[in-house]
């Protein structure tokens, strides 16, 4: 007969064992909170949509990106011998990889959230190339499929960190079939990292609507198909540390017209951001929420 103490130990071990097995068998159910059911909401289709475009400037001397030590993986060193971080992609005072999106606003007297937009049927692509994620900043709609590919001659590990969407951790050897994933809950910004190469990270803006863009290497962005209305536009950049920095401004998009929203980041920028048609209303605040 087992003594009471031995029984207690066996019980504890069995419980932990079952927990381990149970956790390996069960798939996490992704929450659908706040995703918004586009089928139940009003659709906007008057044909008088306009655009919001602008430039993201970096004022002051551009910070130098730190060099990355790839010695832990010879394949990374071979493919990208001089790899650097991608925090600051600045060229001629213009900043790439800023995620610009409509945060709030009114269309025909109704809030943006009262309208529904279908997620694109085409998948967005997140590639692992040169031991970096390409693109470094990506925008998708909630429930839009993300196609994850590996163009490197090494195994990567794709880890969507838990924010408003659940954790998701998969490995992908070189030559493996693309992985499919989707984020069901709007989130600015979801973070992706590689647990094998800890310098690899990407940021994904998950939106309930299609009104977002990422600034290119010239700092320019264009958000098209925007219904006429008044909007709060946000420009987000990952910043040197933490969950990133945001700048906001109000813009008005006329019917079949365009509005300009120029933002500035950088030490010398202060509170900047100049809509072309409205007085400056821009507030800078660090994002306090953990993504």
């Amino acid at each position: 007969m087992l003594s009471k103490r031995a029984g207690l130990w066996l019980g504890l071990i069995a419980t932990l064992g079952l927990l381990s097995l149970g956790s390996s068998c069960g798939n996490k159910t992704e929450t659908n909170e706040n995703a918004g059911s586009s089928t139940e909401k009003v659709k906007y289709s008057k044909g008088d949509e306009g655009t919001i475009s602008g430039t993201i400037a970096y004022t002051g001397a551009a910070p130098e990106n730190a060099k990355i030590d790839t010695s832990a993986d010879a394949q990374c060193t071979s493919k990208s011998p001089n790899l650097t971080a991608e925090t600051w992609i600045v060229k001629d005072g213009k900043l790439a990889n800023a995620f610009v999106y409509i945060k709030d606003g009114t269309i025909d007297g109704k809030k943006v959230d009262e309208y529904g937009w279908n997620a694109p049927t085409g998948a967005a692509t997140l590639d692992q190339n040169g031991c970096h994620y390409k693109p470094h900043v990506l925008g998708v709609m909630a429930k839009q499929e993300i196609n994850i590919t590996n163009s490197d001659p090494t195994t990567h590990n794709i880890h969507f960190l838990q924010g408003k969407n659940p954790d998701w951790n998969q490995s992908q050897p070189n030559g493996a079939a693309p992985l499919k994933h989707q984020l069901n809950t709007p989130e600015q910004m979801a973070q992706v990292k590689c647990n094998q190469h800890p310098w690899m990270k990407a940021f994904i803006g998950v939106m309930r609507h299609p009104f977002f863009a990422v600034s290119d290497e010239t700092g320019k962005f264009t958000i098209s198909g925007v219904p006429p209305g008044k909007y709060t536009v946000v420009a987000w950049h990952e910043a040197a540390t933490g969950p990133g920095t945001e700048k906001t401004m109000e813009v008005t998009v006329p019917a079949k017209g365009s509005a300009t929203a120029d933002f500035s980041f950088g030490a010398a920028a202060g509170l900047q951001g100049q809509p072309s048609s409205l007085p400056l209303i821009a507030v800078e605040f660090p994002m306090l929420g953990k993504h």
Partner: protein, 305 residues
């Protein structure tokens, strides 16, 4: 008393120390989820050791080795050890290492929840305590130590002081483990836990400082006691310096593109030295319990009777 059992127990304790270092490296390299499956690694026993897989799978290999060594130790004790309570300690060590292995699996399967990671790090120290204790109990010095009378002069006894120090060190180790696992290398450490860990360092310094000093002052001729006391104090001093260095290097880490030295090496050294302070205090405590017998002053009572 088998010399072989003691040597083997010592081997298990040393292997456990290296396992703690390997585990600390996993955390500092942010390699905890480099291998997404468990118990196999990418479905294999020996995957390609590339990038952070080296640290995570290396930790698993050392852990498996320690697990096997613990099974052998438990059986070895049943065969060669005459004392029932030491035999039982062998089974306890085996139970702990199995639970520890399962907790390690849970950290992977549940994607590093704080409570599991902190429990895994804490149980590592408790398992270390057990293996060090078995090594002490099976040693010749333990067996042949002469118990001596220590008169209680109504002060706090060295036994109480040692147990209190040991408990405080364990709490401090748990705080440190929770602090380490509560933020990734690219995030700032939570202020509340950081303050608690620094406060814990002060409390442990005072407690262990007083305890070891009391032992050194009262029993300066007993090398059996003074040696672990001196070792504990020396390690504590090194540990405080390592703690300051770990804080300074960790504060810079969120601004780096990846976990880098010296943050990694200093932090791992801090974890390792913490385990050594714990081991030295276990040794001191067990030896104090072995040779110091507490007796109340009864001379006056006897005289009047």
């Amino acid at each position: 008393m088998s010399k072989g059992v003691h040597r083997f127990a010592l081997l298990v304790a040393v292997a456990t120390f290296f396992l703690i270092i390997a585990g600390a490296n996993v955390t500092s390299h942010d390699a905890g989820l480099a291998v997404p499956d468990w118990p196999l690694s990418f479905g294999k026993v020996f995957p390609q050791m590339v990038g952070n897989v080296f640290w995570e799978h290396g930790h698993r290999m050392i852990a498996a080795t320690v697990g096997l060594l613990t099974i052998v130790l438990a059986i070895y004790l049943q065969v060669r050890e005459p004392r029932r309570w030491v035999k039982r300690l062998g089974w306890i060590a085996l139970g702990l290492v199995i639970v520890q292995g399962l907790l390690g699996g849970l950290t992977v399967k549940l994607l590093l929840p704080l409570w599991v990671s902190a429990a895994h790090a804490t149980l590592a120290q408790l398992f270390f305590l057990t293996t060090v204790s078995i090594a002490v109990f099976t040693s010749r010095s333990w067996t042949y130590a002469e118990p001596k009378i220590f008169e209680d002069d109504n002060g706090v006894s060295p036994r109480t002081m040692c147990v209190a120090s040991l408990a405080l060190i364990l709490v401090q180790l748990v705080l440190g483990a929770t602090l380490r696992h509560s933020a990734l290398w690219n995030e700032h450490l939570p202020t509340g836990l950081l303050v608690a860990h620094i406060t814990g360092a002060i409390v442990v310094t005072l407690a262990l400082g007083v305890t070891a000093s009391a032992v050194l002052l009262r029993h300066r001729d007993e090398k059996f006691l003074t040696r672990p006391a001196i070792i504990a104090l020396s390690l504590l001093f090194v540990q405080l310096l390592l703690g300051i260095a770990a804080y300074v290097t960790r504060a810079r880490s969120p601004y780096q593109p990846q976990p880098l030295n010296p943050m990694i090496s200093v932090t791992v050294a801090h974890v390792a030295c913490g385990a050594l302070v714990f081991a030295a205090t276990i040794l001191l405590t067990l030896r104090v319990f072995r040779v110091l017998r507490v007796e109340k002053r009864t001379v006056g009572v006897l005289a009047t009777a």
